[in-house]
């Protein structure tokens, strides 16, 4: 099947969503996604950030779709034409969605540990307004302790429900979910039971905002002061790949996360032993520094590039030039012979 997104065509398998097709093309036409997570089943369709305009439904039925579609849950049709970055309607809609998401999100980025790798920060940087129109009180929740490994800040939650899907798909028995409805909806452990499953730590990586953060890293450093390294270890936990990113400060491992790709999604899930307990350099085989996008804040103050050593030979070269150049400049003899072609 052929799909055209922002004028760029791509061949896709049946059953691919528009978002996945856009990611195959890459670049600026990829819609932002706050709730969709390609490694988890059943995510998507909640945040409405990834709205796109379908200007031609399919080859069989070329009528445009009347409303903007959520690209993460809309399947591709043969001959479909989609506008993402090109469409003003889409830009306007994404602006509105961002404003809605920020209504109840506290402005505590200076305190939040997610700042610098936060999907909502990226989204509002691209689509948000510099000022707020919301004058009412923000929704707040009582702080709740959900164990000594994971910190829950319910105020920051945007209810993407990725963490609920992690609990359902990676762990044996789900102990947390969404409570209440509408404005009062919140993520919580239903019986206030501490999360002690081996894979529960992955909800930190999946969380697009700072609602679920690593308690062992809490306020230790800002993400851009750490130096990220790819590393691996032989992990005996079944289902754990053992491939991680270490966030180091000097020789100290301050935090361990899964390896995230350019869309902020982990390549593979890791167990809690790797994440919380292995904080010694001797536990890990370090592969090398992790690369980030050129304009990512995490690249700040990183001098990991190889620098060439410059040797300057002043005196003689400056005065006389190189041996081979000197001959050309002073032109001891006419270089071209009479019968040479010019």
């Amino acid at each position: 099947m052929k799909v055209t997104i922002d004028g760029q065509s791509v061949e896709v398998e049946p059953g691919t969503t528009i978002l996945q097709a856009a990611r195959m093309i890459g670049g600026e036409s990829v819609p932002p996604a706050m709730c969709y997570y390609s490694k988890l089943k059943g995510t998507g369709g909640k945040c409405r950030c990834c709205l796109v305009e379908v200007s031609k439904g399919s080859e069989a039925d070329p009528r445009p779709m009347p409303k903007l579609m959520a690209s993460c849950v809309t399947g591709c049709m043969d001959g479909m034409e989609v506008n993402s970055k090109n469409s003003d309607r889409v830009t306007e809609a994404r602006k509105a969605v961002t404003e809605f998401l920020l209504i109840n999100h506290p402005l505590d980025c200076p305190v939040c540990d997610q700042a610098g790798e936060c999907n909502l920060q990226d989204l509002s940087f691209e689509h948000g307004k510099p000022e707020t129109r919301f004058i009412e009180e923000k929704r707040t929740f009582e702080p709740e302790n959900i164990g000594d490994k994971i910190q829950l800040h319910m105020n920051r939650c945007i209810l993407c429900q990725r963490c609920v899907q992690v609990a359902e798909q990676l762990t044996d028995d789900r102990v947390h979910g969404v409570l209440n409805r509408g404005d009062h909806a919140q993520i919580s452990t239903c019986v206030s039971a501490a999360i002690d499953n081996e894979f529960s730590g992955n909800m930190i990586d999946v969380c697009p905002v700072g609602a679920l953060t690593d308690k062992t890293f809490r306020f230790k450093s800002r993400v851009w002061f750490n130096k990220p390294f790819n590393a691996h270890r032989e992990c005996t936990t079944p289902g754990c790949c053992g491939k991680t990113t270490l966030w180091m400060f000097g020789n100290e491992i301050q935090r361990v996360t899964g390896r995230k790709d350019q869309y902020g999604e982990v390549e593979d899930f890791i167990c809690n032993t790797c994440r919380f307990d292995k904080k010694e350099v001797s536990d890990w085989t370090i592969e090398g520094p992790k690369k980030f996008d050129k304009d990512s804040v995490i690249n700040q103050n990183n001098y990991t590039r190889k620098t060439e050593k410059v040797v300057i030979n002043t005196e003689e070269n400056i005065l006389q030039g190189r041996e081979e150049d000197r001959k050309k400049i002073s032109m001891a003899a006419i270089p071209l012979k009479n019968n040479d072609s010019k």
Binding site: D108, C109, P110, V111, R218, S221, W224, F225, L319, R326
Partner: protein
């Protein structure tokens, strides 16, 4: 012409080793010439000032030593977000954050605070980017006419919170004058 003698700037001179004459050898004329120059400068306007007693007038956009502000209730505003250190082109600022305990609510405004905040005054170039980056209006470059006092060791120029945080009396006075208005 040999390459050594080419003068692309036109200012290259060949030094001569000419023998001096008798009058040149006694140096009397050259000394008098030099003294005349000294004498002329004695009666000119002075360009220097006697620094510690006299202080030159500062520009209105002048930036002096940093201060970490307190809010109306005397709590420290800084929340150790690290943006000042990030924006600092001289990499002069370091900090370490800590979580506020419930009994410290009257000391720090936010949940997180800077337990260590250091500015290396030898590195600082007083550009004011930290002030511009600060989201909490916590760090300001004052007009205190102070930059950093002279001292003997390098460690003395690393200013910690003891030298940077606004004195409590100043905060009290500020609040008083604000409420009076």
């Amino acid at each position: 012409m040999a390459v050594e003698q080419i003068s692309l700037s036109g200012r290259k001179k060949v030094v001569s080793n000419k023998e001096m004459t008798f009058i040149e050898k006694i140096y009397l004329l050259t000394i008098l010439k030099g003294l005349w120059i000294t004498l002329k400068h004695l009666f000119r306007r002075k360009v220097t000032i006697k620094y510690p007693e006299e202080i030159r007038e500062m520009s209105p956009v002048y930036r002096g030593q940093h201060m970490l502000m307190r809010d109306d209730e005397g709590r420290e505003r800084c929340t150790a977000c690290g943006l000042c250190a990030l924006s600092c082109p001289a990499e002069a600022i370091t900090m370490k954050a800590e979580e506020r305990k419930p009994e410290e609510k009257h000391l720090y405004r936010e949940e997180k605070y800077a337990s260590i905040y250091e500015i290396n005054m030898l590195r600082c170039i007083f550009c004011g980017l930290c002030e511009e980056a600060c989201p909490k209006e916590a760090i300001f470059l004052t007009k205190s006419k102070k930059i950093a006092n002279a001292d003997y060791s390098r460690e003395d120029f690393i200013f910690g919170k003891d030298k940077l945080v606004m004195p409590l009396e100043m905060a009290i006075n500020n609040t008083k004058s604000n409420t009076a208005n």
